[in-house]
């Protein structure tokens, strides 16, 4: 059992860049790729069902998935980060994501007006905040469960002492 614990300990300690790259970046890339492809299919079928495209269309989900995962490198750390450090990295991640997406769309002449740029930027912000809020609410529920368990443990222990 000691060797298992030692290996377990080493496994967690050596959360190196390779592990981070495979778990976060590669996985994130494939998730983004799948979601963007599905979104393109659904939106295309809804608004332009008769449109035809060349093979170059396959590049769009690849390119946008790549753009979406690049800012995730900012979350890499080989040590435990403080809450403040995570907040800073999350803000930087959002700023970088906004700059990259809006920058690429501007470069491709897809942003026709300031209003469109602002509404797109706001949409990215709202999606990011919503995702973080959902994760926070889920964590809050887990924390509540843990606190109930802590309370029950302390009750059991005090009964045991008496």
């Amino acid at each position: 059992m000691l060797s298992r614990l030692r290996n377990d300990y080493k496994g967690v300690c050596n959360m190196d860049f390779k592990t981070f790259f495979v778990r976060k970046i590669v996985l994130g890339f494939f998730i983004s790729f799948t979601c963007i492809s599905i979104a393109m299919l659904v939106v295309g079928l809804m608004y332009e069902p008769d449109a035809t495209f060349g093979y170059d269309l396959f590049l769009s989900p690849l390119l946008f998935s790549l753009v979406a995962v690049i800012p995730s490198f900012i979350h890499y750390a080989n040590h435990e980060l403080s809450v403040k450090a995570i907040v800073i990295r999350k803000v930087l991640h959002l700023v970088l994501l906004e700059v990259l997406i809006l920058g690429i769309l501007a470069y491709a002449n897809r942003l026709s007006s300031i209003q469109m740029t602002l509404s797109l930027g706001l949409s990215i912000l709202i999606i990011d905040l919503t995702v973080n809020l959902i994760f926070y609410m889920n964590d809050k529920k887990t924390a509540d469960d843990l606190n109930q368990a802590i309370k029950a443990l302390h009750m059991r222990q005090s009964e045991h002492v008496q």
Partner: protein, 147 residues
Amino acid sequence: MQVSIKRIDNLIDECVTIECVEITKDVRRIEAYVKSLGDVLFGNIEDRTYTFNLTDVIYFEAVDERVFAYTKTKVFDMKIRLYELEALYMDKWFTRCSKSFLINLLALESVSPALNGRFIAHMRNQQKIIISRQYVKSLKKRLQGGM
């Protein structure tokens, strides 16, 4: 190295004797391991060795190659690895909550969410310790009485 075990009648006379040419780091580690088998622990503050009770320990922290035991008022330097402490005391309400912390569940007051699926453990001595995402499930299981 030869190992011999001799049975005796009295529990009070139980002891471990190490015969060695030189007191090496390994010998010190064996000594620390044997000493830590009971509920009384041995730890150093500067150059002096003190004894303290396991129940007084709020958490153990590994910093580089060293492990420190934190009680309400003192911090002891221990010559033992964190995973060895975990193996020894996992049945005594100690559980690992991150790569470098082993906390006493009886000294855990509450938990609050941090970010990225991690949590903050609020300990009896007002110390806040990060609970890594990897250990949340095992912590929950331990709190509910599992191993």
